[in-house]
């Protein structure tokens, strides 16, 4: 289906882009990154962080102010050399949030469009379109029009269209955010299956951390036009570098502390939750430094009052979520969120004891 030999690495260097009068709005600020061949790189961040600007710059839909973009062997953009390859010369595929299917064309014509654009003979276009239809599970629907399909089917057509022309890379621009939760879940799995079947270069833009975790070989967290953290999904999840990343990855507990001891790979930090064992990306911590620790709600448990490392607090409220229950607890002025999978229930206002989960190691934030 997808010819993996065609797939290329993409390299972006020093990309900047401003909008507004006098360039007052910086969308992208000296962005540099390698997108390795055959890997899926996820650009993750809130709206306005510049992730879409990166993607559209690579696609050629935006001309950055500065920097260079190389796709495989060829330079697609170089501001200083005045090079700009238009999108149609970059040989990319793209899946849009809006699907961007053409309402005046049939499903088959939509999928076959890139092939027709490259001037392939009709018979071959028909053959390859058929294969793609089958491959995305829409056999026999080629003659339909887009508005006759469901949202999920439309997104599959969009995917098929992005892939059919053997692009050097496929760009995904929040492809699932228009779908409802169940469908999104299913499409995510389908995309994962696709990734596992074929190794192709892809760049995936999303603000959904679950999609980033599932689909990315690498996750790039972005903030205000800059890279906040580049790492494996596991690291971004478990060891966020910054307050921003931690917050964006869904960690509500960012607890202030003071460094107590500094060992080679472990640091002990005194916090409202007691002394926590943490790992840090930084190596220059000194005893007595003020710092912030990111504590996932699942890594805190209820304790019996006698345990030495337990701290007591007051339950502000509990929210039952089905598989788990989330408790908001106030420990002498510090608000802590705790997620528990047990059936244990506490009334609002009850006094409880909590402690870090056994053996848990927490992330110490750089900032």
């Amino acid at each position: 289906m997808m010819n993996a030999d065609e797939t290329s690495s993409i390299s972006v260097a020093g990309l900047s882009k401003s909008y507004g009068p006098e360039g007052s709005l910086r969308a992208l600020d000296d962005f540099t990154l390698e997108f390795p061949a055959g890997q899926c790189t996820v650009l993750l961040g809130p709206s306005g962080c510049g992730k879409t600007t990166v993607l559209r710059s690579i696609a050629g839909l935006i001309t950055p102010d500065q920097g260079r973009i190389t796709i495989g062997p060829s330079t697609a953009f170089d501001a200083s050399a005045g090079i700009f390859a238009p999108p149609e010369k970059r040989r990319l595929g793209m899946v849009f949030q809006s699907y961007a299917l053409w309402p005046h064309l049939s499903v088959a014509e939509n999928i076959g469009y890139p092939l027709a654009a490259s001037g392939l003979p009709k018979a071959e276009i028909r053959g390859r379109t058929e294969t793609m239809l089958e491959w995305v599970g829409l056999s026999g629907m080629g003659g339909r029009y887009v508005h006759e399909l469901s949202g999920g089917q439309q997104q599959r057509v969009s995917l098929a269209r992005a892939i059919v022309g053997n692009p050097r890379a496929i760009l995904f621009d929040e492809p699932l955010s228009n779908l409802d939760a169940r469908l999104r879940e299913r499409m995510r799995m389908e995309l994962l299956a696709l990734r596992q079947r074929t190794a192709f270069t892809s760049i995936y833009v999303t603000h959904d951390q679950l999609e980033a975790m599932t689909l990315g070989d690498r996750v790039v967290v972005m903030r205000s036009g800059r890279i906040e953290q580049v790492d494996t999904p596991q690291n971004v999840y478990k060891r966020p570098r910054t307050r921003f990343t931690a917050d964006f990855m869904g960690i509500p507990n960012l607890i202030d502390g003071v460094v107590r001891t500094v060992a080679k790979d472990r640091i002990a930090v005194d916090t409202a939750l007691g002394t926590l064992s943490v790992q840090s990306w930084r190596s220059d911590w000194k005893v007595g430094d003020h710092c912030t620790v990111a504590v996932r709600p699942t890594l805190i448990t209820f304790a019996s009052g006698e345990e030495s490392e337990a701290r007591t607090g007051r339950v502000v409220r509990s929210v039952f979520l089905g598989t788990s229950t989330v408790h908001e607890i106030d420990i002498s002025g510090t608000a802590i969120t705790l997620e528990s999978f047990s059936e244990e229930r506490h009334d609002d206002g009850a006094t409880v004891a909590v402690k870090p989960a056994a053996g848990a190691i927490f992330a110490l934030l750089d900032d």
């Binding site: 949030q97 053409w102 469009y113 890139p114």
Partner: protein
């Protein structure tokens, strides 16, 4: 890295999306278009401050004369009353009809929609001649009938009054309002209305607070168009208006620029008044719209908005709509058709012994100007409308999608011709081209240029709103799929814009066919067109001949409409 970014900073500032030759092409065309629409205004201005032709010593005597002349002042007041009256009538009728036909359960709504635009195909001469035949105080059929019923000499309606002029012009302009407004009504997002209903708004309140305000851009566009069209209208003021001795600026401009003794400077000064009015209207329209909110962005869902039940008003309102249709097209066409078969026209002469086919034989086979002028009109109508649309696509694309360096300038410049009445535009174009040796003066090209210049604003209005309705993703997806900019325009934008383009093409074609004031100074015997020939027959022929000529003009306007209707049926899903 730092080195390279420093190099980049020193390099060319490339803030735009495309660096290619396409951008250069579009920019060049845009620059040419800006020149095309602005020089006539400059030349009109120059003429109004020149003693004689362009190049003669400057003077303020014409502007002074404009201020001193009681006739000019009277004309200005009359023009103002006429403009306000006919615009109001056209807006009420146009908005009412489009609402009735698209958003209510009125019986025969589709037919009503068709009949509402039909008057656009009726040449204004038919409307004028038809209404004179119907509502002249002495000779009008309505008054004759009223006298027969009520006895004595009853004048039920009098077309030779300001109200009569406003009535005709209002009817004449209604379809333009309908065209601009009905699409918005048809496609408006039902969610917004549902939200208002949920909030407890009554239907009337819903109409006043949600449905109409949402259409504000379309309503303002329609208002601007009818205000400027009625202020610059030439035919009705210079026929019935003249007879009723109600002078207006366009008829004075015409007199001063062609009648003895010609006062081109005064004509230019009077044109300048109209130009200023037009540009001021445009300015206020733009300001009222604000930036960004210029077009209604349509929800792509296309779910039908709910229909208002009219209840007991269903049939009465349908009857009113029917009366409008009768007044604006059916009755005038019938009376003009009757005229075409008569030896001479008079209400009492409608007897079998006065019937004849001689008018047809004479006009269609013996009158030497008919077929050359029909050929020229068809050629110019087809070419002019096509060029207008192509240019409008290029310019709208430059402004909306490329957002080129001068896109705001281009956007504003392209509205100018809207504010310049046909006759003034003709003066401006003539003033330049008569000076260019070996240029296009006296050829069909100058007419083509005039038509394109005059109608580019309307074309852009249609094309822009069509482009705005196309999500950029649809174009981007095509670019990424390997189609160039022009390929994308052809394969994606054009097909998606087709209904709007066909509508705009037809409108411009029909308007070109009937345009008189614009070309009356520009044509010559070798380039005569139907509308000018018609004016000539009005001036020196008889009504029955005029009737045949008008019907011919109407039929030629109908042909492409019929063809496109058949063609459009295929594509309408």
């Amino acid at each position: 890295m730092t080195a390279s970014s420093r190099a980049a900073a020193a390099g060319p500032q490339v803030g735009r999306r495309s660096l290619g030759w396409e951008h250069a092409l579009f920019s060049t065309i845009a620059a040419a278009a800006v020149v095309m629409v602005s020089y006539p205004v400059l030349l009109v201005f120059l003429r109004s401050v020149s003693t004689e032709d362009i190049g003669s010593p400057l003077t303020l005597e014409w502007l002074q004369a404009l201020a001193d002349s009681g006739r000019s002042r009277e004309a200005l007041v009359n023009t103002a009353i006429y403009t306000v009256g006919s615009s109001t009538l056209a807006m009420v009728l146009g908005v009412g009809l489009s609402f009735l036909s698209t958003r209510t359960d009125i019986p025969g709504s589709r037919l009503l929609g068709l009949m509402a635009v039909l008057p656009i195909l009726v040449p204004p001469f038919i409307l004028v001649v038809g209404w004179v035949a119907l509502a002249d105080p002495n000779a009008g059929l309505i008054n004759i009938a009223a006298s027969a019923v009520l006895g004595g000499r009853t004048v039920a309606v009098n077309i030779n009054t300001m109200a009569g002029l406003i009535w005709m012009t209002g009817l004449f302009l209604t379809p333009y309002v309908y065209l601009l407004v009905s699409a918005g009504f048809r496609n408006s997002d039902p969610a917004m209305e549902e939200a208002a209903r949920v909030c407890g708004a009554s239907r009337l309140r819903l109409l006043m607070t949600v449905i109409l305000p949402v259409q504000r851009p379309a309503l303002l566009a329609a208002l601007l168009l009818v205000v400027i069209m009625s202020a610059g209208d030439f035919i009705i003021p210079s026929t019935v208006g003249l007879k009723a001795r109600i002078y207006m600026l366009p008829s004075l401009i015409w007199q001063n620029s062609s009648s003895f003794p010609t006062r081109p400077g005064l004509a230019a000064a009077q044109s300048l008044v109209l130009v200023v009015i037009g540009l001021v209207c445009i300015y206020f329209q733009r300001r009222a719209l604000g930036r960004g909110g210029r077009y209604t962005l349509l929800g792509g869902k296309g779910a039908g908005a709910s229909l208002f039940p009219l209840g007991p008003l269903r049939y009465p309102l349908a009857a009113i709509a029917l009366v409008f249709t009768l007044c604006s097209s059916v009755l005038p066409i019938l009376s003009v058709s009757a005229m075409a078969f008569m030896r001479f026209w008079a209400p009492y002469a409608m007897k079998p012994e006065n019937l004849t086919l001689r008018n047809f034989r004479y006009m269609l086979f013996e009158y030497p100007q008919v077929w050359p002028s029909a050929q020229h009109s068809l050629l110019l109508g087809t070419l002019g409308a096509t060029l207008c649309i192509l240019l409008a696509i290029t310019l709208a694309w430059y402004v909306i999608r490329m957002q080129g360096r001068f896109s705001r300038l281009v956007e504003y410049a392209m509205v100018i011709p809207l504010g310049v009445p046909g006759i003034a535009l003709g003066v401006g174009i003539l003033s330049l081209w008569i000076l260019v040796p070996g240029g296009i003066y006296g050829t069909l090209w100058i007419l083509l240029l005039a038509y394109v210049t005059a109608h580019i604003p309307v074309a852009i209005q249609f094309v822009s709103s069509a482009i705005h309705r196309i999500h950029t993703d649809l174009e981007d997806a095509s670019r990424i799929s390997g189609r160039s900019l022009l390929g994308t325009l052809r394969r994606i934008n054009l097909p998606l814009m087709r209904p709007a383009l066909i509508g705009a093409w037809l409108l411009i074609y029909v308007v070109i066919l009937r345009e008189i004031s614009l070309v009356i100074l520009l044509y010559n015997p070798n380039t005569i067109v139907l509308s000018v020939g018609l004016m000539d027959v009005w001036g020196s022929g008889f009504y029955p001949e005029l009737a045949v000529y008008s019907l011919l003009l109407m039929v030629l306007g109908l042909i492409p409409v019929m063809l496109l209707f058949r063609f459009a049926k295929f594509s309408a899903e």
